[in-house]
């Protein structure tokens, strides 16, 4: 179906439901791609076109939206390519309708040097099917002690600064890093888990963890850091994004910080929208994630947060692990679930449950992350790069981990019934995936 696409530099989409959250558009129509850019978009575009024209894709009423931006993707490159390379992550992304992955610096070596940002960009350009926007470390070697060269790293192309799934424990270090980041207008992406409370634990504290006999951390380990960092943002004026939150307490703190006008945003992982602590079931290590799956009340609060807009973005928190790290007793197993290919289906479940509209869900996956990360993407505007996803929001399927494109198959959603996924994905007008 797609072998010829992009060769002429021209693709005409007809009969689509166009959803562009950036402009609020949700209407039937067509879209023209020329030379990798969106050349035209409109309600009657290509209505009368010849269906057999090789340059025309009949969308049959499916949704055509900006390609998704996933703000939280761990890969294994450099250092753990056996789990995931930039290339294999990009295959998974394309299959999931994700056209930009924002990568975490938690690699070996850590991305804390301008030359390493340059390495990621070059490797991505040479091997990846989708766009790669690298984040750099906030502190040297993620050790939480000394800040990185934020100015030089920005010049090298780092889109934001984060210690990934580590919280900077020392408030003085965090204060200075935020202050310094503010000097450059840099975005800091924080992880909120008080390390003293959570180190060495595997679950969220509660009856279920007690029954399983697993070491657990109180859910407020998240809110403590959220509160601390909100205060530090108030002091320093830094732009701050909580990469993912998972508790109602954190949500309420962020809602009030936003109401005070602070430059704070936040994300939630798809698995925290769909799963709760009980899904750990019988020590199911693929559902050991960081922060841990929470109570049902907290899960419901996350859905509410997406619906009311306090939560800005939905992320996969894609974290590939191998049998070596996951086939372990629960407490010893590594954290993380792959998620690039389930991000869209999991997010669409909020629509099918009647909680959130499709265009609002897509906003949290396209224009909102683009705005926060400062990316030139996530829109169907004329002149924008033609990063597109054609999605069928109604198609039912059961997730089979063997069909995942990711090199690692540690999905928290194995066997899960979903409705809706990407049918075709385009990056810069080139088809990178077709089902």
């Amino acid at each position: 179906m797609n072998g010829h696409l992009g060769k002429t530099g021209r693709i005409a989409f007809r009969n689509a439901r166009l959803i562009d959250p950036a402009s609020g558009l949700d209407a039937k129509g067509g879209l023209l791609v020329e030379n990798g850019k969106i050349a035209d978009i409109g309600p009657r575009l290509f209505n009368d076109a010849d269906k057999n024209d090789p340059e025309i894709i009949d969308c049959r009423g499916l949704i055509l939206a900006p390609g998704l931006i996933d703000c939280r993707v761990f890969t294994g490159e450099p250092g753990s390519e056996h789990r995931e390379s930039l290339q294999s992550a990009s295959e998974a992304a394309a299959a999931g309708g994700v056209t930009t992955i924002v990568t975490m610096p938690n690699t070996d070596p850590v991305i804390d040097e301008p030359s390493l940002v340059d390495f990621i960009k070059r490797r991505a350009a040479a091997t990846a099917k989708v766009r790669v926007a690298p984040m750099a470390a906030l502190t040297h070697r993620l050790a939480g002690e000394t800040m990185t060269e934020i100015g030089l790293l920005m010049e090298a192309g780092a889109v934001a600064f984060t210690d990934g799934d580590r919280t900077v424990a020392n408030a003085r270090v965090m204060r200075r890093a935020l202050s310094y980041a503010a000097t450059f207008g840099a975005l800091v992406v924080g992880h909120a888990e008080d390390p003293d409370l959570s180190d060495g634990t595997a679950m969220t504290e509660g009856e279920f963890a007690t029954r399983l006999g697993l070491p657990a951390a109180p859910a407020l380990a998240e809110a403590i850091i959220v509160e601390r960092d909100i205060r530090l943002v108030e002091l320093t004026g830094a732009r701050y994004h909580f990469g993912q939150i998972s508790t109602r307490a954190a949500l309420e703190s962020i809602a009030s910080a936003k109401a005070r006008g602070l430059p704070i945003t936040c994300g939630v992982a798809a698995h925290h929208l769909m799963l709760n602590e009980l899904d750990v079931g019988s020590y199911y290590t693929f559902r050991k994630v960081k922060p841990p799956l929470r109570s049902e009340a907290d899960r419901a609060a996350m859905v509410e947060g997406v619906a009311n807009g306090v939560i800005d973005v939905i992320v996969s928190s894609h974290e590939p692990q191998g049998a070596d790290t996951k086939r372990q007793p629960f407490a010893a197993a590594a954290f993380g679930s792959v998620g690039l290919e389930t991000l869209l289906p999991a997010a669409l479940s909020l629509h099918h449950d009647g909680d959130v509209s499709i265009s609002h869900i897509l906003k949290a996956l396209t224009s909102a992350p683009a705005r926060i990360m400062g990316l030139n993407a996530g829109t169907l505007a004329r002149g924008a790069q033609a990063d597109l996803v054609l999605l069928d929001a109604g198609e039912p399927f059961v997730l089979d981990e063997r069909e995942l494109h990711s090199r690692a198959h540690n999905t928290a959603f194995e066997g899960r019934k979903f409705q809706g996924r990407a049918q075709m994905t385009f990056v810069g007008g080139t088809c990178v995936f077709a089902r």
Binding site: E145, T146, G151, L152
Partner: protein, 315 residues
């Protein structure tokens, strides 16, 4: 003739900071210093105004230029000068600052010049000693003779302070030189800007009545004087700024950044310099723009003027 018979210049018997001085006192000190510039450029550099007086240089922090500048000033004024540094004093054996002060007081000096790593140390000594105290730098608080010598340098080059814009750049947070200069330049009518990354700006710095910039390009735009500050090595390794190479890239004074200032802009530095960290070598060595060696020369003259002024108040 002794100093005591001359017209008084300072209201106080100490020089603890620029804070507390009025514009006429500063002007009088600068005028007096001009006479010592002339004297120092002559063959016979000595006066007898402080003949018989004892000056003690008490330095708890290592210093080459300030200590030798005060020593030379004292000697040229005819005083007996004693240098005490912390390594050779009993402070290193556990004596408190007050005990040291009492001991020194018993030796009946006339002027004590003190440098100490703690803010407020000079003030404390001035309350415990019978002699005049000159603050040669206390912690991050004040370094009044540096600000005075900077002012003398500026006034000799540009004629005055009205309508001048001075950018003070770098580690403002820890700098006593910056605090004294902000006070003095503002007092004399110059506009002062502070340029630094947010981590090196003190809290509420804008309350000094200065303009704050974190971007060097905006901060230097149109300024007459660029005053660079030294960045201590231990502050370049991640605590306040990530590295010296990043610091130089964004806050080091090179030709490109100097190009944002007025074409006639002049560059100052209190020394000692970190070449390639806060200032490029070619600027530091460019005699058309750099006032750095002139500052050192003015330092001796200013300190002679200060000693003269203090001696005028002595019985």
């Amino acid at each position: 003739m002794t100093s005591a018979t001359l017209e008084p210049i300072l209201k106080s018997s100490h020089l603890l900071g620029i804070e507390g001085l009025c514009a006429s006192e500063v002007t009088a000190l600068l005028d007096l210093a001009e006479t010592y510039v002339a004297l120092n450029r002559g063959g016979e550099k000595k006066t007898a105004l402080l003949k018989g007086r004892t000056l003690i240089n008490l330095f708890f922090e290592a210093s080459t230029r300030t200590q030798s500048s005060f020593e030379l000033a004292g000697k040229r004024m005819g005083a007996d000068v004693l240098n005490m540094s912390v390594k050779t004093s009993s402070v290193s054996k556990g004596e408190t600052l007050i005990d040291t002060a009492s001991t020194l007081n018993a030796m009946r000096p006339d002027i004590l010049v003190v440098r100490h790593h703690d803010s407020g140390a000079a003030e404390l000594l001035s309350r415990k000693l019978d002699c005049s105290v000159v603050n040669a730098g206390d912690g991050s608080h004040e370094h009044p003779t540096q600000a005075l010598l900077d002012a003398l340098t500026i006034r000799r080059r540009l004629g005055g302070f009205e309508n001048l814009t001075v950018a003070i750049c770098g580690d403002i947070l820890h700098s006593r030189v910056a605090r004294s200069n902000i006070r003095l330049l503002s007092l004399m009518g110059a506009r002062v800007r502070l340029v630094a990354p947010a981590t090196l700006l003190p809290c509420d710095a804008a309350r000094f009545g200065v303009e704050i910039f974190t971007d060097m390009k905006a901060g230097l735009a149109g300024v007459d004087i660029v005053m660079m500050l030294r960045l201590q090595l231990e502050r370049m390794t991640g605590a306040f700024v990530p590295s010296s190479r990043e610091y130089f890239r964004f806050y080091g004074l090179d030709r490109e950044k100097l190009g944002y200032a007025r074409p006639s802009a002049l560059v100052m530095h209190p020394g000692p310099m970190n070449r390639g960290v806060e200032i490029a070598s070619d600027i530091a060595d460019d005699l058309d723009v750099s006032l750095i060696s002139e500052q050192v020369e003015m330092g001796v003259a200013i300190r002679m003027a200060v000693l003269d002024a203090l001696a005028r108040g002595m019985a």
